[in-house]
Every structure is written in C-alpha cells, then in structure tokens.
Amino acid sequence: MSRPATQKVAAAASGPVLGPAGRESWMRRVAGAVAFRNVSALYLLALMFVVFALWVPDTFLTWGTWRSLLSDQAITCLVAVGLVVPIAAGVIDLAVGTEAGLGAILVAWLLAQLHLAGLVAVVVTLLAGAAVGVFSWLMITRARIPSFIATLAVSSLLTAAIEWISGSQQIVNLPVGYGDLGSGQLLGVTYPVYIMLVVAALLWYVLERTPIGRHVYATGASPRAAALAGVRTSRIILFALVICGVVAGLGGLLLTSQLSAGDPTVGPGYLLPVIAAVFLGSTQFRGGRFNVWGTVVAAYVLAVGVKGLQLAGLPIWIPDLFNGAALLLAVGLAAWRRTPSARTTTLIRLLRIRPAVAPGGQP
C-alpha cells in the first residue's frame, strides 16, 4: 500500500482516530469481568452453596461429597467440552450422547470379546468416534441435511449399533487393570477429572488461541461470509464433528472403566445435561460465545444443584427436572442478553402495557 494515498484517506475520514483507550477501558474490563451477566453461573454456584450448606450441612459440607461430585461429573463435563466445538461452528451434534454410548460399549466389546490390548482397544474406540463424526459430516455437508435432523438420525443409527454389538446385554469380564483408568486416583481425585481438564485446556487453546478456532467461530456466526473470506467452512465442520466424536468416545470408554462394565443404556442420558452445560456455558465469560471454560463451570454448577437436591432427599426424578429447567433457563438467558431491547418488548407484551404515546416518546 502506498503511504501517501493511505494518509490522505485517514485525513479524509472524520472524527477522532484514537479514542480514550487505556485506563478507562481496563477498568471497564474488570467491571465487565465480574458483572453478574458475565459470570452469573458463579453467583448461582455461590447461592446454591449457601442454600445447601444451610439446608443439609451434614452431608453437603463434606470433602467426600465434593470429591465424588468432581469425579462423577468429569465425564459429563468432558463430553460437553467436546460438544462446544461443533456448536461454535454452527452445527449441533445430537448424537453426542449415543457417541459416548458407542464408546462405552465398543471398548468393552473389544476388550472382553476380542481380547485386544487395552491401548489398542482405546485407540480403536476413539477412531470409531472420529468415524461417526465423519459420517455426520458427510450427511450435513454432502447430503445437505440440516445438522439437527442429520445427527438425530445418526443418534438412532448408533443406538441400533450399540444394541447390535451388545445384544442388549451388559458386557462384563473386562480385564482387571482396565478399571484403573476410570477410578484410579491422584491426590484424591480420579483420573477422568485430569483427563477432562487436559482436553478442556487443549480445546480452549485451539478455539481461543489459534487461527482454526477463529475459523470455527466465523463459520458458526455466518457460514456464507466466512466462506467468502476464505474459510474452508466444510473442513471446519468436519474438524468440529470429528473432535466431538472422539471426545464423546473418550467419555464413553472412561465410563465403562468406571463402571467396570459396558452398559448399552448409558449414552442417551448424557445428551441433555451436556447440551444444558454448553448453552449455559455460552452465557459465561465470553459475552454470548460458546466457550470451553464457561461450559466446564456450567457443567459443575448444574451438578452441584442436582447433588444438593439429592442430598436434601428429593426424589429420583430431580436431575431430569433440574437439567430440563436449566437448559430452558440457559437458552432463555442467552437470548435475553443478545437483545436488550427485546426484554422490554417482551415484558410489555407479557404485562399488556403499551407505550402511552408513540414509540420511543414520553407520554
């Protein structure tokens, strides 16, 4: 670019070129960082902590409760973190629950029936997760089926595959050592927690710190505009679905290790809490963007709620109720913060109040 021409441009443009950046902006950044709308889940966590600490102090305030919470929730959290990638790229993967289910049953079958070595079984299972991602991608980008429908169908195919592999039976007789992967402990916390943290850190790095992550978000925000800016959106979607499939498969094989059995029924149960965590997570930290650490926090906040209610002796259907309500709340919250003006409109419509004179004016 030639210097004289660009300087002329800058001179032709009106208004101040540099705004009052610097101190004011970082003060606003700090204020924004701790604002309720940015970290509402943390405030919610604090609130629930106080409530349950007062309600069921004997059980809620024990190290054991928290340790098991951390470990039990690790797999849900892991699968949710994997799902962040496709959702950020603008495709939803409704097969994520059954992908985890497939991982759980496949690793058990490989170990118990085929007697493969542990490492080989794990790798094959992860590859199977990747293959499911590739298949979903083919359906979405080549057959041009909307991701919602395509992955719903894939989910059903996977359910069939799980039933077929397992004969609708639990697969037991796993090798003795395999259980260590899911229930072995380090510093009082099980391995899956560390695995989840490593995967979350990796995906955070990819999404927030690399060009690929930027391409993922651009594809999610506007596939047309992203493609015209040179983003190979189809490859990005492939990447997202493969990551999701592999991470879900990893979640499944950890679960099998934890249970010491391959259970054909575990998969679908993950779908709702995972989606709830991703959407609630999108309202945290990053101003409405789907993001990894928001999802991790959201998954644990939801788990604390469920755990507290269970400890308080509420019935067995509480987790489903809580997750469903949390999903509605999370998505509602995301829509709420997107359009501040829609809030008043909605309230006005709900209360049947209308502006007294004309729009925007004072009566």
């Binding site: 021409a5 930027r214 925000a221 015209l228 800016a229 004309a358 729009p359 925007g360 004072q362």
Partner: protein, 515 residues
C-alpha cells in the same frame, strides 16, 4: 389508494402528522442523537440526509420502537383532522421500510406480504392461495416488476427484495393520513426502478400521507423531496426546502465543509494482464471474456439482469461457473474462494450484511480472517498482540468511527462496515480486487474514503474490477468500462469518451440496434 385526504390549503394549515421534538439517544460512549426536532406534514416528502453514523438510522429505529429514546424526547402522531393519536394505534400510523428490509428470507413473497396484514379471528382461517398470489403479483407489478411471488425471498435479487419490502409497507394501507418512512430504499435499485419507486412515493404523498425519505443519493433527494433535513453528529444542522439547495450545497452541509472530488490521475502505462477470463458461462452470463491489467480500474456496467450483479462473485468462485479464469497466468479452480484468495483475488460483495463480513465478530477478527498465516506462531498459536497492533493500524488507515476494533461489526454504521471490509482485503495485498457495489448505502464522506482506498489499490499496481449500478461512480473511477447486456460485453467505453449519458445509453443498448 383513496383520495380522501385534505386539499392543498388544508395541508398547509393542518398540524404535522408526525412531530419529533428534542429527541436524544445515548449509547454507551456515544450520543447518537442530540435534541433532534422534526415535523412531517400531510402530503409532504421530507428527505433526511447525513453521514453514516450521523444518527439517521437511530432516528428511524426509535420511531419504529426498536430503540427507546432518552427521557425528555417527545414524539407526537396526529391524524388528518389534527387529533393526537395515542396508544397502540400510534405506531400503526407509521409504516417503515428499513435498510435491511426486514423480510423473512425463507418465506415467499406472498407469505412476506401476508406477514404485515392483521389476521382475522384466531388466525386459523384458511389461506386463500391463488387470491393471495394474484394480489402479490398485482402489488409488485405496480413497481414495474414481475417475478414469481412463490419462490423464497432469499433467492431474489436485492432489487427484487426491496420491491417486496416496499410493496409490503404500502399494502394494508388503511388511511391516507399515515406516514411512510423509507430508510434507504433505493440502495439496491437501478435507475428505472428508482423512477418507478419515486412515482409510487409521489402518489402516496399526493393522497395525503407524509413521507420521510432517507437516502445517500443526493440527486434522488433533489428530484423527489420537498424539504431536506440534514443531520450531522446527531444534531439537525440544516433544514431547507429542496428548491433552495443544489448538489454541492447538500454535500457541504452533510460533511460540514467542502470535499474535493476524487481525481483520477491518468494511467502511466499499461501493466501486465493480472486477470484473464475466457468463455465464462453461468447464471445470466453467456460466454464472457475480459482482460484486466495491473494498475487499471475496469468498470462493469449493465442494467439489472445483464449479469453485472453476478460477475464478481462468479469470478471469485462463490457462484457456479464454467470457463477459464486465470490470475497472473495461473488457472483458478471453480467454486473455491479460499483458493481464489491464495491466487491473489479479493472480493467485496454487494450484500455486506449477508456476505461481506461476519457481523457478529469484532472488527479485529474480521480484519484478519482472510489471511492469518503471517500471524501464526509456534504450536499454531495466533499472535494476539500482533493482531491487535495490526487491527489498530488498519483502523487508523481507513478512519474507522468509532475507533474501537473490539466492537462487533454489526454495531457500526454501513459506511464504517464497508471500510472494514475493504481494509481486510487491502491487508492481503490482492493482485485483483473484485468490487460489487462498493459504495452502496454509504454516505458522502465514507464514499470519498472508499474511493481513495480503491485508488490506492490501483496505485499499488493491482487490477480492480468495479461492478456498479452507479454510473457516476464508474465515470469517476474507471480507466475503461465494459457494458454488459444479456450476459455479454456489448461495448467497451474508454476513459476519453466516458460519460454517464454514454453509459446509460449503452446499458439500454439504444444506438447499436435501431428497430
């Protein structure tokens, strides 16, 4: 449209249909409107002019109820008899056509037209398909258009979409004393269509309605409006009857000082061919060939449907095509924008909101999106610091306002969005810059800045292909202009004989074929 509105004397005496007094609107860090007052009388066409970011769109959005004005602002709506209309019916007196048209892209024209109409009863009554279709065809034919009203609006051209929006606002017009507010309706229309629209707008005004017309095209304003209100930085800086104004005076008022016309320095000599197209086919284009050399700006003119609107996106690979496209001697693969960028093409689409940039993302993220390799560090890390510095530099180069690279692009005015789109392509240093209506819906000041940027690209030795429906723009900027008709180049006008009259004549093919 009935003629029950008052006569000429009644119009002069009656209180205004719409009165805005002391309207302000403060956004965080920005006072978009500052004590704006405005009156619209029955039968009057009032043009509101101003820079992008002068507050025009904010004013419209407040009237439409999208934004809430600051306390102390007054808006008063009256009917023809001078009675103040209050409550829910006040908003029903105002009809809007927004810049982004507000159409549901996946629905057909028929369905979009039905959206504005009140449903009777519970909304469960049968929809009369053929009757609605006939009604829709009738409405759009009033604007001289004829297209299938049953295909999704998203598949229509920008001009056709604008027509649907206008037809919708005028449909369901129950009383003549309403106010029609048009926010840049002509941005995507070509000469003839603009005239058809103006005729319709004049008829609306004659029937006793008030019309507020917002446009960047000053010539249009001169030929249509009775009165002009000029906004600058959220304030009314001038208000005068159109008869007291001319083009230069309006530009001065808008910019707040005279701006120099863009001067195209004559070319020093022809460069190497950078873009060679042979036998291009696809869409409306039939067997088109052209050569673009380094350091020249080649205009592409043509009426709607001539293939002019499709050419740039087709060359870039965003649209199906056959034929050979070479960039600097290297053949491009069709249907691969990323490959086209790597070969040295850059493309500024006409539809900025949908195609031009990712509106949800920040200026910084949009700027670096097409080319991130230079910012990649070890382990695939993106150099965040380097990216911020670069974003800040480009922001200053193009004079972005407000100067905040972290703000999502959708919060900027149209002209500033376009500056970002151009900046992101200048950053990749293209060999060939494909432009599709680069100054569409952009105010005078931003337009001058955009033209300067285009000239800077030419000066640097890239070839520029400028597809535009604005003949003035073509005459101002181009070294030569290719005129398209029915998908072919029918004439090439060199710089010496380049005039608006010549282009319009060629576009309509008036001299070559006497019948």
């Amino acid at each position: 449209m009935s003629d029950s509105g008052g006569g000429a004397d009644a119009v002069a005496a009656a209180p205004p249909l719409l009165r805005v007094r002391g309207m302000s609107k403060t956004f965080p860090g920005l006072k978009a409107l500052d004590g704006v007052s405005l009156e619209i009388r029955a039968g009057e066409i009032v043009a509101v002019l101003g820079h992008n970011g002068s507050g025009k769109s904010t004013l419209v959005k407040i009237l439409a109820g999208v934004y809430q004005a600051d306390p102390g602002s007054l808006v008063e709506v009256r009917d023809a008899a001078g009675e103040v209309v209050s409550g829910p019916s006040a908003r029903e007196e105002l009809h809007f056509i927004h810049q982004d048209l507000g159409l549901a892209d996946i629905l057909s024209t028929v369905e979009n037209l039905g959206l504005g109409r009140a449903t009777r009863g519970w909304g469960l009554g049968p929809v009369h398909g053929s009757a609605e279709r006939r009604h829709a065809e009738q409405l759009i034919s009033r604007f001289g258009a004829s297209f299938d009203p049953t295909i999704p609006v998203g598949k229509l051209s920008p001009a056709q979409r604008a027509i649907v929006a206008i037809a919708r606002a005028m449909d369901g017009w129950t009383r003549p004393d309403n106010v029609l507010i048009l926010d840049e309706p002509t941005a995507a229309l070509h000469g003839d269509e603009v005239q058809v629209l103006f005729e319709a707008v004049r008829r609306v005004a004659e029937s006793g309605a008030g019309v507020v017309f917002i446009s960047h095209r000053l010539d249009e304003v001169l030929s249509l409006a009775d009165r002009v209100v000029v906004l600058r930085d959220g304030q009314v800086v001038a208000e005068a009857p159109t008869s007291e104004l001319d083009h230069d005076r309006m530009v001065e008022l808008i910019v707040g000082g005279a701006v120099a016309e863009v001067a195209l320095t004559p070319q020093d000599g022809r460069g190497e061919p950078v873009l060679e197209v042979t036998g291009l086919c696809g869409g409306e284009i039939r067997d088109l060939s052209l050569t673009l050399r380094a350091g020249e700006i080649v205009g592409v003119a043509g009426i709607l449907g001539s293939g002019r609107e499709q050419l740039a996106s087709m060359l870039f690979g965003a649209r199906y095509r056959t034929g050979q496209v070479d960039v600097a001697g290297e053949e491009l693969v069709a249907g691969d924008p990323a490959g086209a960028i790597a070969a040295g093409l850059a493309y500024v689409p006409a539809d900025r909101r949908r195609d031009g940039a990712v509106m949800e993302m920040s200026v910084r993220e949009n700027l670096t999106l097409p080319l991130m390799r230079p910012l990649r560090r070890r382990f695939g890390r993106l150099d965040a610091r380097g990216e911020r510095i670069e974003a800040r530099r480009w922001m200053q180069t193009v004079g972005l306002h407000p100067p905040n690279p972290e703000q999502p692009l959708k919060l900027f005015s149209g002209g500033n969005q376009q500056k970002v789109v151009l900046a992101k392509w200048l950053r990749v240093r293209p060999r060939v810059l494909l432009l599709d209506e680069p100054a569409q819906g952009v105010d005078v000041g931003a337009k001058a800045a955009i033209y300067e940027l285009i000239l800077a690209v030419r000066h640097r030795g890239a070839g520029v292909l400028l597809c535009s429906s604005d003949t003035k723009e073509l005459v101002q900027l181009c070294d030569r202009v290719l005129v398209l008709k029915e998908g072919r180049v029918i004439s090439e006008v060199p710089r010496d004989s380049l005039t608006e009259a010549r282009l319009v004549r060629d576009e309509l093919d008036l001299h070559s074929r006497p019948t």
